[in-house]
């Protein structure tokens, strides 16, 4: 596969985000490698999904991109330009172009503010527009996410869960971002509401020509919403590739077990086959070798010593010693 000529819109190079584990007297007793040496890139208009179980570091990755955590190491580039690493230094223009949407985007609304005031706020911070100008933009975006005029004068607690998420989304969209990071956009929602939220995201993707990164524990959600998927385990990307490839022909044993664990309505019971044994270990406890070896059905002695690197062949990367194309 040939590299696209223009630089990718978003590029992560060996990004790490570690947290100290404080022990005796506040001394550093260990390191939680929440995100560890992650590299990936996104072309304009692309949708990349990141899946993994709790503790895989997918959410930390999203927050690091959104400028909520500072990376410990590595570079984030937006359209070829490195973004300053410390959050206090991230310039406003970058904040406007790259935005992060919280798991419960409604929770980003101040409970004591009306929706209108919350939607104005990004514009107040980022622009010197007149009140009327801002109001016009706010109404346009509110309409685009399916919020009615009269909703603007309500407080968040007066809205339903689905409407709150729409409002949170609108708050992000008023600034016209190029890239949006969606962190678990559907968790905690009923299926019927979840589907409408996903439809909304699909709609705004078309409307605003968005590039997005979607983080979720639900393979079905990212599978239906993204062009490419990255699978994370213990802070690392263990597999990355086109959605169809990753889900249809998973290469990493972890991806395979994730895919195999999905119930298939109308198909045979997956519990009839044996599920994956064990649960993820704590990301700080791993010292050597492949992080997945404790649960891996095909692990060998080499896996306890060698930490597999992500090897990309034909746009499909996998980090496993045992995988042979």
């Amino acid at each position: 596969m040939s590299e696209p000529s223009s630089p990718p819109l978003l590029e992560l190079e060996r990004l790490s985000c570690h947290f100290p584990i404080r022990g005796l007297l506040g001394r550093r007793a260990g390191t939680l490698r929440a995100v560890d040496d992650v590299s990936l890139s996104l072309r304009e208009g692309e949708a990349l999904g990141i899946v993994g179980e709790s503790g895989s570091g997918k959410s930390t990755l999203g927050k690091t991109l959104g400028g909520i955590h500072d990376p410990t190491d590595g570079v984030i580039r937006l359209a070829g330009e490195p973004i300053a690493t410390q959050r206090s230094r991230r310039p406003l223009s970058v904040r406007a172009r790259l935005q992060y949407v919280y798991q419960d985007s409604g929770a980003s609304l101040d409970q004591r503010w009306t929706l209108r005031r919350s939607l104005h706020e990004p514009l107040v911070i980022h622009t010197d527009w007149s009140r009327e100008h801002r109001e016009a933009k706010v109404r346009e975006i509110a309409g685009a996410v399916g919020l009615a005029e009269e909703h603007l004068d309500l407080y968040p607690h007066e809205l339903s869960g689905g409407q709150q998420r729409r409002a949170g989304l609108a708050r992000i969209l008023v600034l016209g971002p190029q890239i949006v990071v969606f962190d678990e956009p559907t968790s905690g929602l009923d299926f019927s509401v979840q589907a409408t939220v996903l439809a909304l995201i699909r709609g705004i993707r078309r409307m605003f020509n968005l590039t997005y990164l979607m983080i979720s524990h639900d393979l079905n959600v990212v599978g239906s919403m993204c062009d490419r998927l990255a699978v994370m385990y213990l802070g690392r990307i263990v597999e990355i590739g086109p959605t169809r490839e990753v889900l249809g022909r998973p290469r990493h044993p972890y991806t395979r077990s994730l895919v195999d664990s999905l119930p298939r309505i109308g198909g045979p019971r997956v519990t009839d086959r044996l599920g994956m044994p064990g649960e993820p270990v704590f990301p700080a406890d791993m010292h050597q070798g492949c992080g997945y070896r404790t649960r891996c059905p095909i692990g060998t002695l080499a896996c306890t010593r060698i930490d597999p690197r992500l090897v990309i062949k034909e746009a499909h990367g996998v980090a496993c010693l045992e995988w042979r194309p």
């Binding site: 959104g66 400028g67 909520i68 959050r87 991230r90 406003l92 904040r95 406007a96 992060y100 919280y102 419960d104 929770a107 980003s108 609304l109 101040d110 409970q111 004591r112 706020e121 990004p122 911070i125 980022h126």
Partner: protein, 280 residues
């Protein structure tokens, strides 16, 4: 706001407290007008010493022959004045320190909160005693001493509330959006913690009153003959049990005032803080 007033009226405890407070405040404000013998409150009348309650002096007279009723209602002014001054300075010093220390959470805030923690580590009344003693007994020194000892309460409360609200998503997202620090502090954090500050302040008023009365009781309050409840109670000890009315009046006045604030504070907490509502 109207909603708040409605819920206060609908809440029996809060309403009872509020009524008591209104009563005490009204008496304090109108004290010189209501007091039957305002002029006799601070002077010596040897012929009228230690008279039991009668139609002439409805709560009796004290060892100086002053009308106790007049002294008690004039004392309400003194107590409310001291308390208001202490609580205001506590809020004015403590709230900004707590906000800044909580929001920035740097070396400076560790230093600020360290000072607060040290002051909290000394039993308040003993520290206040030490300060008033070095300043000499006067209203000013009581206010100063109690202000120095009590601001850390607000600082610690606001610090803790700010720390926890900084972890809330709406604050985090406002920061990620690029909102300036003052914007986050004054438009997002402060309005959201205001209700706990109010509740805590109402409760703290009672504590402050006790403290100022205690200083008076120990002879460290405003010097005689100013009418101060704590000192009046202390004076009465020599004349117990015969002159039982002597201690009763200022004691009850203090009790009613503190009760008003603690009832009102309890009610406000129920209304404003839904976390504790179910246990009410």
């Amino acid at each position: 706001m109207t909603k708040l007033i409605k819920s206060i009226i609908g809440h029996r405890t809060a309403l009872a407290g509020l009524l008591l407070l209104v009563l005490v405040t009204a008496i304090a404000i109108a004290a010189p007008l209501i007091a039957p013998h305002p002029d006799a409150a601070e002077s010596f009348h040897i012929d009228r010493r230690l008279m039991p309650p009668s139609s002439e002096a409805i709560l009796g007279t004290d060892r100086m022959g002053s009308d106790i009723f007049s002294r008690v209602i004039l004392g309400a002014r003194m107590t409310l004045l001291i308390t208001a001054a202490v609580v205001c300075s506590g809020v004015i010093i403590g709230v900004p320190i707590g906000l800044i220390a909580g929001y920035f959470n740097t070396g400076l805030s560790i230093a600020l909160m360290g000072v607060a923690e040290v002051l909290l580590a000394v039993p308040q009344i003993i520290l206040a005693i030490a300060i008033t003693q070095s300043l000499g007994p006067s209203i000013g020194s009581v206010i100063l001493a109690l202000s120095i000892t009590y601001w850390p309460f607000w600082a610690r409360l606001v610090y803790a509330e700010t720390r926890s609200i900084c972890n809330e998503i709406f604050v985090e997202s406002a920061i990620a959006l690029g909102a300036s620090s003052w914007r986050v502090i004054f438009l997002h954090i402060l309005p959201n913690i205001a209700s706990s500050i109010v509740v805590r302040t109402t409760v703290a008023v009672g504590t402050t009153m006790f403290a100022s009365a205690t200083l008076g009781f120990l002879g460290l309050g405003p010097p005689p003959p100013s009418p101060e409840w704590g000192r009046m109670i202390a004076e009465s000890r020599e004349y117990l049990p015969e002159a039982w009315w002597y201690a009763a009046a200022p004691g009850l006045a203090l009790f009613v005032t503190v009760l008003g604030f603690s009832l009102f504070g309890d009610g406000l907490r129920d209304i404003l803080d839904p976390k504790t509502r179910r246990s009410g």
